[in-house]
Symmetry: C3
């Protein structure tokens, strides 16, 4: 069995934004030499997500508005912010968008549908945060 | 290590509906010859889900009503629809229900709880869409 | 390839609560002897979750309030409850928080970010329920 692990670092200047990371994941899959296997891509921080959806700026704006409706930033809403944080909303937004994706590797390539793209979702940015990519297989 | 990959195709006549696919996944697990391993089942389209929950029609009606409340179909709500699409809501509903499930294979069988059933969740149907099933293990 | 499977049992006295299970998962990873691989941790019940977030009591209170807003317990809201159940809300809350997490194992250890902790999320407690932990790798 082969295994490759890499850590990607992102420093997103906005509080909330989405970064397209499919090319980085493809690079790691190629480097792994895995032909048939699975890849795990997960946020290592609990106010961030990795998810798969469309690379379309209008949709990303829609997501931001919708997540703000479902879990508003308003710091007074969250008991979590009594710890000195102001990111209670980010812990909620991340649960909607998810922590991780598991992807198939077939014939040495990421086995994604036509419009599937992998994104890093940041909900409490303006500092360095990490994403783990792990590939296992043969 | 053994690996098996199959693509299932669904053409759901409704805009939103859920299709029970556990028997198909079980068939692929048997065919793989994997005794101990993991299975990945994911929608290959970004307006669809694969999820695990109860095979109970009342609950599925409840999910449809709830998803419509959380992300109404109303095309005017979504900037995404300025691309010519009318499925902005479907991209949101899919984030609530998730893209994929990873399942354990133990003793040559899907290792599911008593009431766990795997579903394909369609949020923009009336056309052919694919689900990937990948099994790895020994 | 090595594979280890364990089933953890929880009997949560409240209807909704979160149980920190990272030490249990770490114990199973050590026992597996896997140095490089993947771990799957999933609820085997469809009114429960496994998720990763912060071990902070204020945040957990925030989650409970938020999930109650998104999917109120009120039994009259859910067609599912016509089956004789009163847990329709729990099937919805679980979809927000997710069924499972897939985690990386690197150098024989759970490869988690600084604040990542694994939780069992119960939404219809007061009875025994199971979580599956499966580790594969080499």
């Amino acid at each position: 069995m082969r295994a490759t692990t890499e850590y990607l670092t992102f420093n997103v200047p906005a509080r909330m934004d989405f970064v397209h990371i499919t090319p980085e994941v493809e690079r790691i899959v190629r480097k792994s030499g895995v032909s048939e296997g699975l890849g795990l891509v997960n946020a290592m921080h609990i106010t961030a997500s990795v998810f798969i959806n469309d690379d379309e700026p209008g949709l990303h704006q829609d997501y931001k508005k919708w997540l703000e409706e479902l879990a508003p930033q308003d710091p007074s809403r969250y008991l979590h912010n009594r710890t000195g944080e102001d990111n209670g909303d980010a812990h909620h937004k991340r649960q909607i968008m998810g922590r991780e994706v598991t992807v198939a590797i077939t014939g040495g390539k990421l086995d994604l549908g036509t419009w599937e793209r992998i994104f890093y979702g940041e909900f409490d940015g303006r500092r360095s945060k990490r994403v783990l990519v792990k590939v296992i297989g043969e």
